[in-house]
């Protein structure tokens, strides 16, 4: 990519993403391109598809849960084209690495609600938590346990008692206890990894 288009891109992205300096944005874009090249044979495609992104989430950010990685991908992919472009990449990472509490709150909520109705429903919670118990003697028992866990969560987070968690519910609960931010599974880089990545952004590229 030549200097000019690069500069233009950096300029346009920097206008929307405030958490990074221009030089950092440039680094991230270069990183994006190298990742795309490495992952993608079809060079004409200017973005990361789901599999490539998941591989990155796993190797760089230490995430393991497939389902959640998919959800993170969808949260990154703002325009829903099943492909993350440079802008979405930088934007996503800004929350990932430099996000304020509110930004992260929003991001997590986006990851957790899927069907787009703005609520996390009981079924969705069940889906997300279904692997959270070590296999017990029978599947039935495990299911029972998870159902109860869902009830516990709802009891804790569903302030308006409508059987689903709205953003307001979520915000209120998390603000009360920050530990609940990633309540349905890890969707942010771990603190340790986060530190390393910050260094990465600042220096190496």
């Amino acid at each position: 990519m030549d200097q000019k288009t690069m500069k233009k891109l950096v300029e346009s992205i920097s206008n929307t993403v405030k958490n990074f300096k221009k030089s950092e944005v440039e680094c991230l874009i270069r990183l994006f391109h190298s990742l795309v090249e490495r992952a993608n044979v079809r060079l004409n495609n200017f973005g990361l598809d789901r599999n490539a992104f998941r591989a990155i989430l796993h190797s760089v950010f230490g995430m393991t849960d497939d389902m959640l990685m998919n959800r993170v991908f969808f949260a990154f992919d703002k325009d829903n084209d099943n492909c993350i472009n440079a802008k979405e990449w930088v934007k996503g990472l800004s929350v990932f690495l430099r996000g304020t509490f509110e930004e992260k709150l929003k991001f997590c909520f986006e990851v957790y609600y899927l069907n787009g109705d703005g609520y996390i429903s009981q079924e969705e919670i069940f889906d997300m938590l279904k692997n959270s118990l070590h296999q017990q003697s029978s599947e039935e028992e495990t299911d029972e346990g998870i159902k109860e866990l869902v009830d516990i969560t709802l009891k804790k987070m569903d302030y308006d008692n409508d059987g689903k968690i709205s953003f307001a519910d979520f915000e209120k609960a998390v603000k009360k206890d920050k530990l609940l931010l990633e309540v349905f599974g890890p969707c942010l880089p771990e603190a340790k990894v986060e530190c390393q990545q910050l260094k990465l952004v600042k220096g190496t590229f």
């Binding site: 430099r98 509490f101 992260k104 938590l129 692997n131 959270s132 118990l133 070590h134 017990q136 346990g145 109860e148 866990l149 516990i152 969560t153 009891k155 804790k156 206890d177 920050k178 530990l179 609940l180 931010l181 990633e182 309540v183 349905f184 599974g185 890890p186 771990e190 603190a191 986060e194 530190c195």
Partner: protein, 1045 residues
């Protein structure tokens, strides 16, 4: 013989039937004695030798029939004696190898025949006949012997007159004598045998070491070997001394005696010649008697040791009683060890009384001396037990779902072991939460609250869930009211504590945070604290203090702050390096440049430091921890934190400082770090707790004069005085009055306090206050009243009445302070009138009966100005029935302060002639004379004054001479204290009125010393010295004159 055989002979423990005598020196001696007795019997007691046994003595002999000669009918396999009984039966019958003998005469002959094999024969005889006396005299004599004295036997025998029984009786008597003789003999033998061995000595020393150290509670100041090298046999003495049986040499420093250099040898323990200073060689020569062990030795040498030892004993016994499971075997062994010793001590008087049934009665007594050793032994055992259980725990932690630990036995055992060890390492700060709360678990299924089941469910998720489920469970567990005991105990009882602690060991930051948040809350419960420590939670938390996550550090420190409220926990924190880490947390606040964007879960540096201070505050209640904090460089950091203005931070910081200020080192450091300034500044804070701790810290530090001046220079007296006006918060009031008390030891401060009208306020606080406040208020008034203006002020404010009223209290510290204050007031004649009217003198006088020596001394001091200033003091003193006798008898005390004060009081009492006559009758002269040999200058001064006063009556002068008080008095003149000189010179002047005393003085070189004192600037001293010299001189002239005329 019977008793000696059954009791002291050492039988092999092979069970019945084939039991044989062990070949020990003791047994050999017994056998030889018996043989000598039997051999000579035929010559010494021919009559009794013919007495025929009730039953024959039978055994297997090795003697050949051919050995028998005249007087015997010998065949190939049998031998019969020619001597026969009434029925014609032979008295000796041998049918190889069995032999039967029925008289002592025959026994006697047999031994003669056996010649060199007689020892074997005697042994065989006794082995085969375990109770020879019964066989000889019949069963009835033997039973008689068992339960009563010989008198009964005599009774019994004298009743039937027949000559045979007379002989029988004589035989009985003779045997009895032999028995006694044997016992005596074996005793001598046993006494030679009590030898110490390296292990027992080592154990003794190790034990004593545990209880040595600084402070009043310990038994010794120190005990150390002279040599670090231990030979493989356990001895430390050089080989050429080991030949003499010496095991090691120990330097012992008791509280009240100089360092003793002690030799522990196999024979016992004794004082040696000590270490020579130049070469460090030991003078091996024995300088004292031999004691049977180190403890006995020390008890003899140091009164303090035996006193504290007995206290320890009591403590041990209590410990002992608490535990119902006794490790039976080991004490028994100890008993067995103690047996020969006790045997030695007890059996002597038994023998005197001719009572031979020791054993039963003595057994109980014998147990006593070994009690403390029992404690040692099980202490050791507990330690190893402790280690075991901890190892178990470590193992158990790996599998996440452990069963709830039953805190029964193991815990109990551990507790007591810990206690013993920590008794000394802990400073005895007040409010120690040390009594173990009863561990009540909820009864199964009996009305369990609904929380219990809900918590159980959550714990299930903690155990079986992944990180996500765990976090959810932790968060909802936090929603319970964790301050409520039911919830706290529910978490524990369903096994939640183990899981929570296990979570701390994982890598999941969120789980750790969640878990610590819960632990922090529930650790307010004393039982939970102990459980956390038992489960090994502290080391993990201490490790978390190293974590890069600040909020984790904070939470861990806060939890430690809660847990470390009892000794064992504090010690665990220290042992795992927690103190250093906590001190390091304090450092955070100094790097003030914080990164703007910190991680999501992070706290601020100040917060970290605050939590660190909070934990240190808890930990600083142990002496060793105070030391560790100081060594880790905590004081400068605390001083730095003290400059901040956050109350939340200041309270734990000042709290820690206040706790630590009980140590000398800290007070010096506090001065050096200019902490006082900030303490004073914070007195002006709005926060009552902060004020309280600041005042408390000043109270602790103001023992030191410089600090008192610093408080004044930084303007601390004014806030202190104004805080007096707020009396609602009693804790704070106690701290503030305490600070005022200590500060008012300096005169300049008192002046300031008067300026601030603090004295009036203090007088107002004399009523309706709790004791802690009263002690300090009265203490402060006592200091203030050393000055005239203040005495007047106190009187005018009506302070005397409440002070006198306080004389009837029971709190010792309070009484000491009250007597001092009353004494200070009594210096003023006008105040004295009031005291007299309120019957204060009688109250003071009755305090002379208080058991506490400090109170006695203080009361006696206070009496001095009272007697001086009371109108018609002589009459007043006489009114107290038995009062004079009481005070004279106090001269028998062994407390120097009491003695000095009583001497001073006697000086004042003796000013009245009639009273002097009465105390003379009560024997004041010999008692005073007895005290004369002292090195204590304070006592010397007052003693000399008392003697000089008492000389004024009758022939007391002469009596002092007779009781040898004069020579020691002369030596007082060599003291460095001018007051002693004056008092002594006056006393000598009085004594020199008697010619004999003059001679004694002259002989002891008084003249030269007195001549020097004539030149003193002190007029009284001059006068007295000159007067004394003139008396001596006049006597000399008179003798010369008498000689030449």
């Amino acid at each position: 013989m019977g008793v000696a055989l059954t009791r002291s002979a050492q039988w092999t423990a092979a069970g019945y039937g084939t039991r044989t005598l062990e070949i020990t020196p003791l047994n050999e001696v017994i056998l030889k004695e018996i043989m000598m007795f039997v051999e000579s019997f035929i010559y010494k007691h021919p009559q009794e030798a013919k007495y025929v046994f009730v039953e024959p003595l039978e055994w297997k002999t090795n003697l050949d029939p051919s050995a028998f000669e005249s007087g015997y009918i010998v065949s190939e396999t049998t031998v019969k004696s020619e001597e026969v009984d009434k029925d014609g039966q032979p008295l000796l019958f041998l049918s190889v190898p069995h032999i039967k003998i029925r008289s002592l005469g025959q026994l006697s002959r047999l031994l003669l025949i056996a010649k060199d094999r007689k020892l074997k024969e005697a042994q065989a005889c006794i082995e085969a006949n375990r109770d020879p006396v019964t066989k000889i005299l019949g069963l009835d004599y033997n039973t008689v012997k068992e339960d009563t004295s010989t008198v009964n036997i005599l009774d019994k025998i004298t009743k039937d007159e027949d000559p045979e029984s007379e002989i029988k009786m004589k035989v009985g008597m003779l045997l009895k004598q032999l028995d006694l003789h044997l016992l005596n003999h074996s005793l001598k033998h046993i006494s030679l045998q009590i030898c110490l061995n390296p292990t027992t000595v080592k154990n003794d020393i190790e034990l004593l070491k545990h209880f040595s150290g600084k402070g009043e509670q310990t038994v010794l100041e120190s005990i150390d070997y002279t040599s670090d090298y231990e030979f493989s046999n356990g001895c430390r003495a050089p080989p050429w001394r080991q030949i003499h049986g010496e095991i090691c040499y120990v330097l012992v420093k008791p509280h009240d005696v100089e360092t003793l250099c002690v030799t522990c040898s196999a024979e016992g323990v004794f004082l040696n010649g000590g270490k020579t200073e130049d070469e460090g060689e030991i003078n091996y020569e024995r300088k004292s008697e031999i004691y049977k062990d180190l403890v006995t030795f020390l008890k003899e040498k140091s009164a303090k040791f035996s006193e504290n030892m007995s206290k320890q004993d009591i403590r041990f016994t209590e410990e002992w009683k608490k535990e119902n499971e006794e490790p039976k075997e080991i004490p028994k062994k100890e008993e067995a060890d103690a047996l020969p010793k006790a045997f030695l001590a007890s059996s002597k008087n038994i023998l005197e009384k001719n009572q031979i049934n020791f054993g039963k009665t003595q057994m109980t007594k014998r147990l006593e001396p070994s009690l403390n050793w029992k404690a040692t032994v099980d202490f050791k055992e507990h330690k190893s037990l402790l280690r075991d259980t901890q190892e178990e725990k470590h193992g158990g932690r790996l599998e996440r779902a452990g069963p709830p630990v039953s805190p029964g036995r193991a815990q109990l055992v551990r507790k007591s072991a810990e206690k013993i060890e920590e008794i000394l390492s802990d400073s005895s700060s007040e409010n120690e939460e040390d009594e173990e709360p009863p561990d009540h678990r909820q009864e199964a299924n009996a009305d369990l609250p609904s929380e219990y089941w809900q918590i159980q469910k959550l714990v299930k998720y903690l155990k079986g869930g992944n990180q996500t489920a765990t976090v959810i469970a932790l968060c909802s567990m936090k929603d319970f009211n964790l301050a409520q005991e039911t919830c706290q105990l529910a978490i524990r009882d369903v096994g939640g504590l183990e899981v929570l602690i296990n979570l701390l060991d994982t890598d999941e930051v969120k789980c750790k945070i969640g878990s610590l948040k819960i632990l922090k809350e529930i650790s307010h419960n004393p039982q939970i604290r102990r459980n956390i420590v038992d489960l090994g939670g502290l080391p993990i938390m201490v490790n978390i203090l190293d974590s890069p996550h600040k909020s984790l550090k904070c939470l861990a420190a806060e939890t430690i702050a809660n847990v470390a409220k009892f000794r064992r926990a504090r010690r665990a924190v220290r042992h795992h390096g927690g103190i250093t880490k906590l001190v390091a947390l304090l450092d955070c606040a100094q790097s003030s440049a914080e990164p703007a964007q910190s991680s999501l879960y992070d706290a601020r540096d100040v917060e970290v430091a605050r939590c660190g201070a909070l934990a240190l505050w808890s930990c600083s209640k142990s002496y060793a921890n105070k030391e560790a904090i100081r060594k880790a460089g905590g004081i400068p950091l605390l001083a730095h934190l003290l400059k901040t203005s956050h109350e939340n931070m200041l309270i734990p910081v000042v709290g820690t400082l206040q706790e630590c200020a009980s140590e000398e080192n800290y007070r010096a450091a506090i001065k050096a770090e200019r902490i006082i300034e900030n303490l004073v500044k914070n007195l002006n804070s709005e926060n009552e707790q902060l004020q309280e701790h600041c005042a408390m810290a000043i109270y602790q530090c103001a023992e030191d004069k410089e600090t008192r001046d610093l408080v004044r220079l930084h303007g601390g007296l004014k806030p202190l005085a104004s805080l007096l006006n707020n009396t609602d918060n009693k804790e704070r009031l106690a701290a503030v009055t305490g600070a005022i008390w200590k500060c008012s030891i300096s005169k300049e401060n008192v002046t300031k306090f008067r300026e601030y009208k603090a004295i009036e306020t203090l007088v107002g606080l004399l009523t309706d206050q709790p004791e802690e406040v009263l002690v300090n208020v009265v203490g402060a008034l006592g200091e203030c009243c050393q000055e005239y203006e203040n005495r007047v002020l106190v009187r005018k404010c009506g302070g005397i009445q409440p002070l006198v009223n306080l004389l009837v209290g029971i709190n010792q510290t309070l009484l000491v302070n009250v007597t001092k204050a009353v004494g200070a007031c009594a210096v003023e004649p006008e105040s004295m009138m009031i005291i007299d009217r309120l019957d204060g003198v009688r109250l003071l006088w009755s305090l002379l009966k208080n058991p506490h020596p400090d109170v006695k001394a203080s009361a006696a001091w206070a009496l001095c100005p009272c007697i001086q200033n009371a109108k018609d003091a002589g009459e007043m003193v006489r009114c107290f029935v038995g009062g004079l006798e009481l005070i004279v008898n106090l001269l028998k005390s062994d407390n120097k302060e009491v003695l000095a004060s009583v001497c001073a009081a006697i000086t004042n009492i003796a000013k009245d002639q009639e009273n002097l006559a009465v105390i003379t009758d009560h024997g004041v002269v010999p008692l005073l004379s007895k005290l004369a040999n002292t090195n204590n200058d304070k006592l010397r001064r007052h003693l000399a004054e008392a003697i000089s006063r008492c000389c004024m009556w009758g022939r007391n002068r002469v009596a002092f001479g007779e009781y040898k008080a004069v020579a020691p008095l002369v030596r007082y003149l060599k003291s460095n204290d001018a007051n002693v000189h004056r008092a002594t010179a006056q006393a000598l002047y009085q004594l020199s009125e008697d010619a004999d005393n003059c001679i004694t003085m002259h002989e002891n070189g008084a003249v030269k010393l007195l001549l020097g004192m004539v030149g003193s600037p002190d007029q009284d001293l001059q006068e007295a010295a000159a007067g004394c010299i003139s008396n001596i001189r006049r006597l000399a002239l008179a003798t010369e004159k008498a000689r030449y005329t």
